[in-house]
Amino acid sequence: MPAERLLSDLLRDDLGLTGTKIGCGVGVCGACTVLVDDVPVTSCLLLAAQAEGRSIRTIEGIADGDRLTALQRAFITEGGFQCGICTPGQIVSATALLERSAHPAEGEIRDWMKGNLCRCTGYYGILRAVRAAAEASA
């Protein structure tokens, strides 16, 4: 693998895991969010070589086969997406949040999710979905 390969390109082009999206390409929008050792990172600014030997989770690895997680179901029932381009990043980010903090405070949700931009929903549906998923796990 060439040293200059980005993790986002490795996932999409070499492994065919196109659920990870590339939006801004400069680390701002969050569409390319994946988990490296359970921590969300910007895969468009991470060299694939930096992730060598570490555990990578993409949107493809969130659901258990066809069984969606409570968070994914909440995105559907709460209207947490519209066009869908940002959704993989939103769900990967929120998954990491709920794994760290099962019942996050409102401020914690907002701070954690602020790096995942959405141009459709106005964010309220996304926040509702994260809250609903946290409550569902109670």
Binding site: G27, L45, L46, G115
Partner: protein, 283 residues
């Protein structure tokens, strides 16, 4: 999109220093958030990167009276560290305001300082706290006060062959309080229009025993507000005096006009936010 380069992984600090010495043109890769972006933009085409990401010597947070943060500690680790929170809550929350959680999870405390972007959050806070950067090279170790680390936009006093090893944050003096405030008129994840790190100690008779103020985003480096400090030191800190002193910062900053405001606006806001920061520290 990124031009080809050679990636060399350093297995130890000693090896990293040898690699640096043998190839002064090589760039150091830590978290990569800033470096990889410069390479994607085509502004940087290094022939070799030295990956120091695996160096255990540069990781972790320790206390020995002073707080010592290893250069490869991520912002997220620093923000959530019980040691940092206990030592100085304002510093922990400052690390927590950097960019977004993803960038904080990837970008390192040392990489951020070495990148020397004047719009970054930790530099002014660390200058106000009197922190020190520990630099290591084949020739040995030297300590540089944080305010001397920054030379210009994207330029530091880290010399060729030197690596930022850790930062040392002395404890706040008894009775001193610290804060970091950030003015974000556009969006929450934006760079600050102006930011202020401040430490204030007011003695029992309401006089300013000590004060340190530094600003971000309003000059090529963090700006230490020495005039503000000397107008307050030894004086009784009334709200009026605080305001008068804070406004002196307008003569100390050197902002540039950009999408976050004109130079004149930023100068004005530097005064306003310096006052707010200091007022929040009054007993």
């Amino acid at each position: 999109m990124i031009a080809p380069f050679e990636l060399v992984r350093a297995g130890s600090l000693a090896e990293a220093l040898e690699l640096l010495e043998s190839d002064p043109e090589a760039h150091v890769l830590a978290g990569g958030t800033a470096l990889v972006l410069l390479m994607k933009q085509g502004l940087l085409r290094p022939s070799r990167l030295i990956d120091i990401g695996g160096l255990a010597e540069l990781r972790g947070i320790r206390m020995n009276g002073d707080l010592r943060i290893g250069a490869l500690t991520t912002h997220l680790e620093a923000e959530r560290s019980a040691l940092v929170r206990r030592h100085c809550p304002a510093l922990a929350s400052c690390f927590g305001t950097v960019a977004t959680v993803r960038i904080r999870a990837q970008g390192t405390v040392g990489g951020n300082l070495a990148h020397a972007d004047p719009a970054q959050d930790p530099p002014p806070m660390l200058v106000a706290l009197g922190a020190v950067a520990v630099l290591e090279s084949g020739a040995g170790r030297r300590e540089v006060p944080m305010e001397d680390l920054f030379v210009d936009v994207f330029e530091t006093s880290i010399g060729p062959g030197e690596l930022l090893r850790e930062i040392v944050v002395p404890p706040l003096a008894e009775g001193a309080r610290a804060t970091y405030v950030k003015f974000l008129p556009r969006t929450e994840d934006d760079y600050a229009t102006v930011s202020v790190g401040a430490v204030l100690r007011v003695d029992a008779d309401g006089r300013c025993a000590d004060v340190r103020v530094a600003l971000g985003s309003v000059g090529p480096t963090p700006v230490r507000a020495r005039r503000v400090e000397s107008a307050l030191r030894g004086e009784r800190v009334t709200p009026a005096r605080l305001r008068e002193a804070a406004m002196l910062v307008r003569e100390e900053v050197d902002p540039i006009a950009d999408a976050r405001g004109s130079a004149a606006y930023k100068r004005e806001m530097a005064g306003v936010w310096t006052e707010r920061a200091l007022r929040a520290l009054l007993p």
